[in-house]
C-alpha cells in the first residue's frame, strides 16, 4: 500500500542541500526510532511468529511437527472458513455502500451551508463514534430485544409483530445497523474535513458558468475528495473483514443465529482460545490478512485511477 504516501510533488520544499544530508539522516532516526522499535515488537515480530506458527501442527502423537504448507491447504478447503468469508463479503457489499453513502450525503449537506444549525448536526452525528463497540452493541442488543427493547414497544403500540432482529435471517442486517450507527459520523467527518479545504473560488466560478448544485458536486466536490473516499472505503473494507466485537457480544442474545465461526476473525479467535489450535488459527488469520490486503490494494488502484 505504498501509494498511500502523499505524492512526491506534495513535499512543500525541494530536498535539502546534500551537505546537510548526513547529519539529518541520523537525527531523523533519532525521532522515529522509538516508534519503529515498538512497532517492530508489537507488529513485525508477531507477524513473523504467525508465519512461523502456520508452518507447524500440534499432533496428538509426536508433538509439534513441521508440516510446510499443509495448514494452508486445509484452510483453502475449509467450508467453515469460506462460509464466514462469504458472510463478511455480503456484509461488506451491503453495509459499506449504505454507510459511506449516508456519510457522504450528510457531509455534502453540511458543506453546502444550507443547513440550519450546522455545527450541532456535525458534532451530534459524530458522537456515536465515541461510544465503545461494546456499549453500542449492548445498547442495540437491548433495543432489538422484544422483552424490554424498542422493537417490543413498537409491536405493542402499533399492534404489529415485527420480525425479530436477532433471528438467523436478520441478525446480519442488525449487526450492519450497529456498525453503520457507530461509523456514519466518523466517515462524515472525514469527508467534511476534505470538503472544507476545496477552494471556494471554484464554486463561485462554477456558479457563474451556470453550473447547478448537482453539477458542482459531481464535477468539483467529488473529484476533489476522491482520496478521502478511497481511504474511507479501504478502512471500511478492512473493518468489515475484521468484524468481531459486534457478533461476539450479540452472541449470547442470538445463540441460534451467531455461531463461533460467524466471521473469519471470530473463527480464528475460537480456534485459538476455545480449541487450542494455535497453528491452524494463525494460518486462517494469515490467509484472511492476505485477502484483505489484496482487495484493499485493488480498491486503491481503481480508486486512484483518473477519470473513473
Amino acid at each position: 500500500m505504498t501509494t498511500l504516501q502523499p505524492p512526491a510533488a506534495a513535499e512543500p520544499r525541494p530536498a535539502p542541500p546534500p551537505v546537510r544530508r548526513d547529519r539529518r539522516s541520523w537525527t531523523g532516526w533519532g525521532f522515529l526510532g522509538p516508534f519503529v522499535a515498538v512497532f517492530a515488537l508489537v507488529f513485525l515480530a508477531p507477524l513473523a511468529y504467525s508465519v512461523y506458527l502456520s508452518l507447524f501442527r500440534d499432533q496428538l502423537i509426536g508433538g509439534t511437527t513441521f508440516v510446510g504448507l499443509d495448514n494452508y491447504a486445509e484452510a483453502l478447503k475449509d467450508d467453515r472458513f469460506w462460509a464466514s468469508l462469504g458472510r463478511v463479503s455480503l456484509f461488506l457489499a451491503v453495509q459499506v455502500p449504505i454507510m459511506l453513502g449516508i456519510a457522504l450525503l450528510v457531509a455534502l449537506a453540511l458543506d453546502s451551508g444550507r443547513l440550519y444549525g450546522r455545527d450541532f448536526f456535525r458534532i451530534s452525528i459524530f458522537l456515536p463514534y465515541a461510544v465503545p463497540a461494546v456499549v453500542a452493541t449492548l445498547m442495540w442488543g437491548f433495543m432489538y430485544g422484544t422483552r424490554f427493547g424498542l422493537v417490543g414497544d413498537i409491536n405493542g403500540a402499533l399492534g404489529v409483530s415485527l420480525p425479530d432482529p436477532l433471528s438467523p435471517d436478520l441478525v446480519l442486517a442488525s449487526i450492519g445497523n450497529i456498525v453503520t450507527w457507530e461509523f456514519v459520523g466518523y466517515n462524515m467527518l472525514i469527508f467534511y474535513s476534505a470538503l472544507r479545504v476545496v477552494p471556494h473560488s471554484l464554486y463561485e466560478a462554477a456558479q457563474i458558468d451556470g453550473a447547478g448544485q448537482i453539477r458542482v458536486i459531481t464535477a468539483i466536490k467529488l473529484p476533489a475528495i476522491r482520496g478521502a473516499l478511497v481511504i474511507a472505503t479501504i478502512f471500511s473494507i478492512i473493518g468489515s473483514f475484521q468484524l468481531f466485537n459486534e457478533p461476539s457480544i450479540l452472541q449470547p442474545l442470538a445463540r441460534n443465529a451467531i455461531t463461533t465461526d460467524y466471521t473469519p476473525n471470530y473463527y480464528t479467535y475460537a480456534l485459538s482460545f476455545n480449541g487450542q489450535q494455535h497453528n491452524y488459527s494463525a494460518t486462517v488469520a494469515i490467509v484472511m490478512g492476505l485477502i484483505t490486503m489484496v482487495i484493499a490494494y485493488a480498491v486503491q488502484l481503481r480508486g486512484m485511477r483518473k477519470g473513473v
Partner: protein, 316 residues
C-alpha cells in the same frame, strides 16, 4: 485521511473556466446569496435531521434507561421514563456492586488510556515530525510498512502476540494491554501530514542558527505549532484505547485487570450463566458512565481536534 490524489491538474480546469467566465459577472446583478452564503434550506435540514435522530435516539434511550430499575426496564416503554426514578440508586449500585469492581475497571481503563494513548501520541508526534521534517535513508519505506501493517487483521496479530507475551510472562498484566496500544499508524500518518503543513522549515533553521539543539528545537519551536495535531491524535488514540475490547479480551483472564468494556460485557453475560444474577440496570448505567468522559472530551476540545483534522486534509 487526506486526499492525496487531487493534484493541481484537478483544480486548474475549473479555475481557468472561472477566469473566462468573469465577463458575464459584470452583467449579473449581485446576488444576495452567493456561493459562500447560500440560502438556508428547511427541506435539507429536515432530511439531515433523520440522520441526526438515528444517531441520537440510542443515546437518549441509554440516558433514559439508566434511570430505571431492573424491573422498570422491562415494564416501561424504552423511550420514556418509568415511574421510579432510580438513576442515583443505579449509579451508587454500579460503583458498589461486587465490592466496587466497577471502580477498579474505571481505574484500569484510565491507566491503559493514560499510558497507552499518551505513549502512542508521544511516539506518533516524534515519528511524524521526523517523517515530515528530516530526510533520512529508509524514510519512505518506513511508512509503506506501517500502512501495509494496518491491513493485517487484529486476530492475525492477537494470537501470536498473545503467545509471545505469554512466553515473556506479560499476559494477564497491564503491560499486555498497554504495550500494543503504543502504536497508532493513523496517528503517525496524521502527525506527518500535520507537521509538514504546520512547521515552517525556516523557523527550524533559524532556531538551529541560534544554537538550539535538535531536542530543544523540537520542544520549543515545533511542539507548540503542533498542538492542534497533538490534541487530535490524542483524542483518537484515547478513543481507541478506551474502547478497546479485543486486545484485553485476548490478554487478560483476571477480572481485576479488566477495562470497562470487558467488565460491562461480563456483567451482561452474567445473566446467561447458571445461577448468575441479572444486573441489566447496572449494565445500562455503567455503559452511560463509560461513554460520558469521551463525549465530554470531544465536546470540550472540538475546536482543537477539528482544526487538526482539517489540516490533515489540506495535504494535496
Amino acid at each position: 485521511m487526506t486526499s492525496p490524489v487531487a493534484t493541481a491538474s484537478d483544480r486548474s480546469a475549473p479555475t481557468s473556466s472561472g477566469t473566462s467566465g468573469s465577463a458575464p459577472r459584470l452583467r449579473t446583478p449581485r446576488r444576495r446569496h452567493s456561493a459562500d452564503r447560500p440560502r438556508r434550506s428547511v427541506l435539507l435540514t429536515v432530511l439531515t435531521s433523520l440522520v441526526l435522530l438515528y444517531s441520537l435516539v440510542p443515546l437518549v434511550w441509554l440516558a433514559i434507561s439508566a434511570t430505571k430499575t431492573q424491573e422498570g426496564l422491562s415494564r416501561s416503554a424504552g423511550l420514556w421514563f418509568d415511574g421510579d426514578f432510580a438513576l442515583w440508586d443505579n449509579i451508587t449500585e454500579t460503583f458498589t456492586y461486587d465490592d466496587g469492581v466497577f471502580t477498579r475497571w474505571l481505574l484500569n481503563t484510565l491507566l491503559y488510556v493514560g499510558l497507552g494513548a499518551g505513549g502512542a501520541t508521544f511516539l506518533a508526534v516524534l515519528g511524524g515530525y521526523a517523517l515530515a521534517k528530516f530526510d533520512f535513508p529508509g524514510r519512505r519505506s518506513v511508512f509503506a510498512v506501517v500502512i501495509g501493517a494496518v491491513a493485517v487483521p487484529g486476530t492475525a496479530l492477537a494470537v501470536p502476540t498473545f503467545l509471545m507475551f505469554s512466553k515473556m510472562g506479560l499476559t494477564n498484566t497491564p503491560w499486555a494491554v498497554i504495550v500494543p496500544s503504543l502504536i497508532s499508524p493513523f496517528g503517525l500518518y496524521l502527525m506527518w501530514v500535520f507537521a509538514t503543513e504546520a512547521i515552517p522549515t525556516e523557523l527550524m533553521e533559524a532556531a538551529r542558527i541560534d544554537g538550539a539543539g535538535e531536542l530543544r528545537t523540537f520542544f520549543r519551536v515545533a511542539l507548540p505549532l503542533l498542538a492542534p495535531g497533538v490534541v487530535t491524535v490524542l483524542l483518537f488514540t484515547m478513543v481507541a484505547t478506551w474502547n478497546n475490547y479485543f486486545l484485553p479480551l485476548v490478554m487478560l483472564k483476571d477480572p481485576d485487570w479488566y477495562p470497562l468494556t470487558l467488565g460491562l460485557n461480563s456483567w451482561n453475560q452474567q445473566a446467561a450463566t447458571a445461577g448468575g444474577e441479572a444486573v441489566f440496570n447496572l449494565v445500562v448505567t455503567g455503559s452511560l458512565i463509560t461513554i460520558l468522559p469521551l463525549i465530554a472530551a470531544f465536546l470540550l476540545l472540538q475546536k482543537y481536534w477539528q482544526s487538526g483534522l482539517a489540516a490533515g486534509s489540506v495535504k494535496e
